[in-house]
Amino acid sequence: MAVDTAPAPALVDERAPARHLRAGIVYAVLGLLVILAAVALLGDRTTTVAFDKTLTDASWDAPTRTVVLILGVIATAAGAWMIAGLPQRWYKIAGAAAVAAVVLALLFWAYSQEGTVFRAESILAGALFLSMPYIFGALSGVVCERSGVINIGIEGQFLMGAFTGVLVANITGNIYAGLAGAMIAGSLSTMLLALLATRFQVNQVVVGVILNLLALGFTSFMYDQLKKADGLNDAFSVPVISWGPLADIPVIGPVLFQQKLFVYVGLVMVAVVWFLLYRTRWGLRTRAVGEHPAAADSMGVNVNRLRYWNVVAAGLLAGFGGAWFTLGNSLAFNKNMTAGLGFVALAVMIVGRWNPLGVLAGALIFGFTTQIARDLSAAGSSVPGEFLQMLPYAVTLVVVAGLIGRAKAPAADGVPYNPGDK
């Protein structure tokens, strides 16, 4: 065994695989379209970027056409570089640059309309806050699916969390007790998934769909019951946490250091889940169980027990995310108030390729585009509101098709494990 039979990797830097070529053409054409449109359609407009929270008077007027042209050139160049053939390791970066340039160009264009101002701080702070439910829901999904259990019931866990959060907060008069209640409710509802998936080996997608239905029926029913009693469904709000002088830093301050608890917990959880998954014994075993349960089993890991508790723990995250809808927004519970965002969280999980950092990116894309759409609509954009509301979905579609490509789920995701199976 002295001879290492591993073929020496012959890295090829000189040639571009075919898919690079295709992507390159798409980006180059997009870039050219931006340039053409800018030349043909953009008149003498300016785009105003303002800092409304810290530097109330500061604003920056940029000549729209010039900026858009530059961005168009960047996108075209990135595309051309891909066509010409670029080293493998630059491929992702060039692609991201091209997409970012096109998106920024559109943004500059959109905000060049009369009367619209890009209020950097409000928009970014709002976007970060809006991405929170996706982060929690998708992280819950990541923990479940990394362990090999498909969790399509995030919507239901959101509802349970949203409902119970308010209820417990009202009963105890303490918002933190409410948050804990939300987490436990989320966890209780995933416990059913955990049990059915590990012990009874039921099709996990079916269980997820059923959980959503159960949660909807249960919370709606309980909501009607609670309405009869007074003071069980009053709004509670989590305080905004301001980090003293840090909060006064322009742009960064209002965006990062003057947010509600949810934002901090969300960002911390991304880091924590990432660390747990990739740097701890639990994470190693969890990923092994989701990827190749028989391998984990053969090394003495109790697959179904780990899956069970992971799914139960994931429910805590989704439940907390559910509390965002009520406690996070200072709202009382209302029937079906999660409005399908649990499914979006599911998509964010896949966009993020089952990785907490990817989830953060996906959630931010969603939060940002949602915020932009609302801001433009409020500013009286000439684009019909419905199309603006489509923005996050359309952007996700483009990002998924253009950048993310094939996302590979953990190999054993959704496959029940029977010890003794080969």
Binding site: I150, Q201, N203, G340, L346, Q389, L397, V400, I404, D413
Partner: protein, 430 residues
């Protein structure tokens, strides 16, 4: 997510002639009793329904203020609690039954000659009416399942189908034999067009069909809101957000309205049955179905055998979209022919997922579970407010839960494992 066929959990036991021969001659009662205590698929379904109704009964009792109050003095007068509960449960389930299948009051009236025969059929007609779109969306999800695709986008496809059928339905001036088929086809085409998108994206870029179809659902719903506001679609006579009505020549004829005008069930039901039969034929008899099933079970082996995976994804998703689109056409040209609104589609597409899974992705099973869902919906609608709508939702969820989890039913009731093994929904990943 590639498989949802019935599989046997334990290896099939080969015939064991020596034991069989020595057994005493089986008497019918023994066999029947054995059948009843065995977790075979018929009994599991029956027990699932019974268990679900039991849980539903508990929910009903808990939710009813008055009945609940009788429990507060349970120990002094337990009979109160018992009678109140019994009456509540019996009445609630009776009214669900009456709304879905047969109304006893009407039956009495009919016997007495006060009601026509048509009145008697109304609950059934409602059940079938609500089942109709579910047959289509269930097939849309089920067909994709067979190709290993999770079509979570039937909702959007149904919405597009609705719009396609509607536009042809009101904008053309044609004789009924041409107009109606064209409008129906337009629904299928529009739904198919939307369904094709996740298929094409998956085939070309590998984009996960679950993401793209969730996104398209939202886009389609918003698109409908916008479209309904445009002058082209918006009703000329009503200011509400409602579309123009389709022409009479594009309206699906009702089947039984000659008996009674309130019998709404229309031709779409028959089309649904026919399409289900067609899908069954396609899957089990055609080369296309052969390919779909092969790709769904094992895309690697299929590719090695020369089947084109990408184009199978694309065509299957297009076909699935077309099926959901037909569901949309059934709505737009049928019960909603007076004009569609933003929530005409309800959650027919999402329910289609449950219907398909419950029907084990087999056309026959899908039709059966669509009928069950239709009955639940019709019953729930007519039983309110005595049975709160949310209780009906819970009841539905519990029924599906038990049917989907035979192992659970078996464990709760301590049933025996049947000979061929437990029939269960095979769970597979994305």
């Amino acid at each position: 997510m590639s498989d949802s066929t019935a599989t046997t959990e334990a290896p099939a036991e080969p015939p064991a002639p020596d034991t069989e021969g020595s057994e005493p001659k089986p008497n019918f009662m023994r066999l029947f009793g054995g059948y009843l205590t065995e977790a075979n698929s018929v009994m599991v379904t029956i027990y699932s329904l019974l268990l679900a109704f039991l849980i539903g009964a508990i929910l009903l009792i808990v939710s009813d203020e008055f009945t609940r109050s009788t429990f507060s003095y349970f120990f002094s007068r337990p009979q109160d609690a018992w009678y109140a509960s019994r009456d509540l449960v019996v009445e609630s389930y009776t009214s669900l039954f009456e709304g879905a299948i047969l109304n006893f009051n009407t039956l009495e009236a009919y016997r007495a000659g006060d009601a026509e025969f048509g009145n008697l059929l109304r609950p059934l007609s409602e059940t079938l009416t609500y089942a109709t779109p579910l047959i289509f969306t269930g097939l849309a999800v089920g067909l994709a399942f067979r190709a290993g695709l999770f079509n979570i986008g039937a909702q959007g496809q149904l919405i597009f189908g609705m719009m396609g059928a509607l536009i042809v339905g009101f904008s053309l001036d044609l004789p009924i034999w041409l107009h109606l088929p064209l409008a129906i086809i337009a629904g299928a085409v529009a739904g198919g067009a939307l369904g094709a998108v996740p298929g094409v994206l998956k085939a070309t870029t590998g984009a996960h069909e679950v993401i793209s179809s969730i996104m398209l659902n939202n886009i389609a719903a918003l698109f409908l809101v916008w479209a309904l506001g445009t002058a082209f679609l918006h009703s000329e006579t009503k200011s509400d957000l409602v579309s123009k009505p389709v022409d009479d020549s594009a309206t699906l004829p009702t089947l039984l309205s000659s008996l009674n005008p309130s019998l709404r069930v229309n031709l779409a039901l028959i089309i649904g049955f026919a399409v289900a039969a067609l899908v069954w034929w396609l899957l089990s008899k055609s080369t296309f179905g052969f390919r779909i099933r092969a790709v769904g079970f094992n895309e690697h082996a299929a590719a090695t055998a020369g089947m084109r995976i990408g184009s199978t994804y694309t065509t299957t998703m297009t076909a699935a979209g077309a099926l959901a689109g037909l569901g949309g056409a059934a709505l737009a040209l049928g019960v909603s022919s007076g004009g569609i609104t933003t929530n005409t589609a309800l959650d027919y597409g999402f329910s289609g997922i449950t219907v398909a899974l419950l029907g084990r992705a087999n056309p026959g099973g899908i039709v059966a579970s669509a009928l069950l869902f239709g009955a639940l919906k019709a019953g729930a609608l007519s039983a309110q407010p005595d049975v709160p709508v949310d209780i009906s939702t819970l009841l539905q969820a519990t029924i599906v839960l038990f049917i989907a989890a035979p192992a659970l039913v078996k464990a709760i009731l301590h049933l025996r494992t049947p000979r061929g093994g437990l029939v269960t929904l095979e769970a597979k990943g994305w």
